[in-house]
């Protein structure tokens, strides 16, 4: 089983030209998953664009890759083809688009605003078959307005126990996979964040209408509160997201989970095709 190739295949099967990998926390194998997808895309002779949302990640890139970085992060060697210095800011300074002409390690970063992410995707997408985006969970809202497939990553680094890690990723997946609103049915539109307080109040009132948010990232609920709200209310969205898979990383410096059972549990809890990239496994 080639995890990167399978993840890429799942995304492309939905017609997505961009793949966002988001994690439940830091160190849960997001970058590993993204690298696997990147390698698979290169092996398939696809031209790839790469950016990260808000923060910096170092990637070994092949020649011919389009990437977003900051002017200050550009290595002196190997030289790259500089395509544009954009009027956008990253956390490390002015955003710069470049194309690698030699294999090497490069710092990838992206803009810090939702409109900047959209612009980056448009720029990278104009000259790439597929754009890969490394996205931190706290920047999730930035991905919502951009079309693409989402891979959620979870791991031992993000939770104190395996059940907790599974619950976290299941909640994230459930939140991101909220279904599209039925335009013919009655709806209560939520402006801004949909909070636990609002959800409790609506359940107390016995609200039967659809509860409609613009996109799933507006749902500011987690854990038990989210489960309660999704079970007790018809939560829907105007712009559904395309979550295509989950990845797991059973190992962390602080703790390890049993890889096989972790992968199985995540697949079962999320209902998504699930992969352990390090173990080269897909949940049956």
């Amino acid at each position: 089983m080639r995890a990167g190739a399978r993840l890429l295949e799942l995304a492309r099967a939905r017609g997505a030209r961009a793949v966002f990998v988001v994690g439940t926390a830091k160190g849960v194998g997001k970058t590993t998953a993204l690298r696997a997808i990147y390698d698979a895309a290169c092996a398939a002779n696809l031209s790839v664009g790469l950016a990260s949302v808000g923060y910096r990640a170092r990637f070994p890139l092949r020649a011919g890759t389009l990437f977003a970085t900051a002017r200050t992060l550009l290595p002196a060697t190997p030289a790259v083809e500089i395509l544009q210095i954009a009027p956008l800011e990253t956390s490390a300074g002015a955003l710069l688009y470049a194309r690698t002409l030699h294999d090497g390690s490069y710092d990838v970063i992206g803009p810090s605003t939702a409109s900047g992410v959209r612009e980056s995707l448009a720029f990278l997408g104009a000259d790439s078959d597929v754009v890969l985006l490394d996205g931190a969970i706290d920047r999730l809202a930035m991905l919502a307005s951009s079309p693409g497939a989402i891979v959620v990553s979870c791991g031992a680094a993000g939770a104190k126990s395996q059940p907790q890690a599974v619950e976290d990723v299941a909640a994230l997946a459930a939140r991101l996979r909220v279904r599209a609103a039925d335009p013919t049915a009655d709806a209560l539109e939520i402006v801004g964040a949909f909070t636990a307080t609002a959800a409790d109040e609506l359940m107390r009132r016995g609200e039967r209408r659809q509860i409609v948010v613009t996109d799933p990232t507006q749902i500011a609920l987690n854990g038990a509160a989210l489960a309660r709200a999704l079970a007790g209310l018809r939560v829907r969205c105007r712009r559904p997201l395309e979550v295509v898979a989950a990845t797991v990383c059973a190992l962390a410096p602080e703790r390890n989970f049993e890889p096989e059972s972790f992968l199985r549990a995540v697949a079962q809890a999320t209902g998504l095709p699930s992969f352990d990239v390090c173990a080269g496994r897909e949940a049956a």
């Binding site: 002196a76 790259v80 083809e81 500089i82 395509l83 059973a250 049993e258 173990a279 080269g280």
Partner: protein, 504 residues
Amino acid sequence: MKAPDLIDEQSAELLGFPWLRTALAPVSAYGARRFAELRPYRLGEERAAQDRAREVASIAGTLAPERVGASRATLASLPDVAAVVARATMDDLLDDPDFFELAQLCDGVERLEGVANAATRSVAATLAPGRREGGAFYLADAFDPTLAGARIALRDVQAELDAARGRERAEAARALERDEIAGDEFIVMRADLHGGPPPGVRVQREAATYLLCTLEYGAASLAALERREAAVAAVAAAEENVRRRLSSAMRESAGGLAAANDALARLDETLAAVRFTQRYGCTAAEIVAESALAIDQARFPPLEDELERAGRRFVPVTVQLDAPAVLTGPNMGGKSVAMQTCGFIALAAAFGLPVPAAHARVALFDQIAWLGVGREERPTGLLSSFAAELMALNGVLERRAQRPAIFVDEFARTTSPAEGIALAVALLERLREAGACGLAATHLPGIAEAAGVRHFAVRSYVIAEVDGDEQVSGDAIALAESLGMDERFVAAAYRALKGTTWTR
């Protein structure tokens, strides 16, 4: 664009200075720096102000607005290389983004008239081997044969390393019965392991059900890795050599590049003024060295814009002033707007701009001030609004400007009419003594004659000079009626008006 010596903040607000600053805002970083330092012409610089206004008006008359727009778009797209040029001058080693921006700049200035020079062309030629499709830049092999050779060597050894590493990965994957080994660290489940880990696979951590492993470098990979490190160092050295040479060439052109930057700043400033001139149908005023503010068919663009958005039309103002004068007229008749128009024209002329008027003869003033209504003097502590108004007046007169333009809107309106008249007369006398030019709008009677100044009246938004103390109705009661005050109220007001000197 600053004028702290010419106009105070509140007067500036009332006379549309912030609006003018926005209308003249440049689009490039070069223009922005110059614009930030832009100062009005001073007394004695009438010729320079006149020449500048004529230059702008002449360009506005010959350059199509579309071309102005296109040039401004080019200016807006240019990178700001001022810091790069400064670093080149200091013999800094420039980097590839610096060369990219310099190349972009040199391309861009060729599309603008009068900016490119020998230095920008020389820089463009020097960087040409690195130019790629779509304006991209790359430190290309063509810059130096040594660089090309170093890169070929690196490519070869990288391929060697990839092949050796690929073989090791493939062998390990085959031994572990997996399709691939992804990443530097990987997990091997004990259940999948028949015997110990295969050769080349190092176990980093063991757990009950799995092993965390890495793939060791074999002899062939290690040898290739060492050669690659050397090749990387050779490429780095060759790239730095090229950058050093290019930086040195940029240093030699730094003076010319700085001159091009200055030209860009001037062009940006000029095009903004040209755009303003075209948009508002401005003409170059005759700038004179004596107190004068004679305007024909003049407009106040901030209000003109607002009226245009509301589907209404601004009635142009015509008036000739060479000293302070009184302005009377009905409420909402246009007195304040007439004064704002005069002040705006004086401001625009002070910056060497064509003015929104059919014709104008204007002095350069060294003070432009507004007093009275609209100037939000907030009473502080025990100061009443009247006291605050006097304090503001004091502040304006204390400047002792040589050639002030002062606009006074209903001065002393908050005290008794008799004393208000006396104060207004005293103010006009003082302004006349100071050689000021301007208007004092008032509803109080007898001021023009008492102060010995000309008297203008606004009727239906049109200004005309009237005889000495001719009283102009304020039309205030009729206005109150038209604004919805009840009949009883209006009738009472007319009854009260009878017997006064100000009958309808």
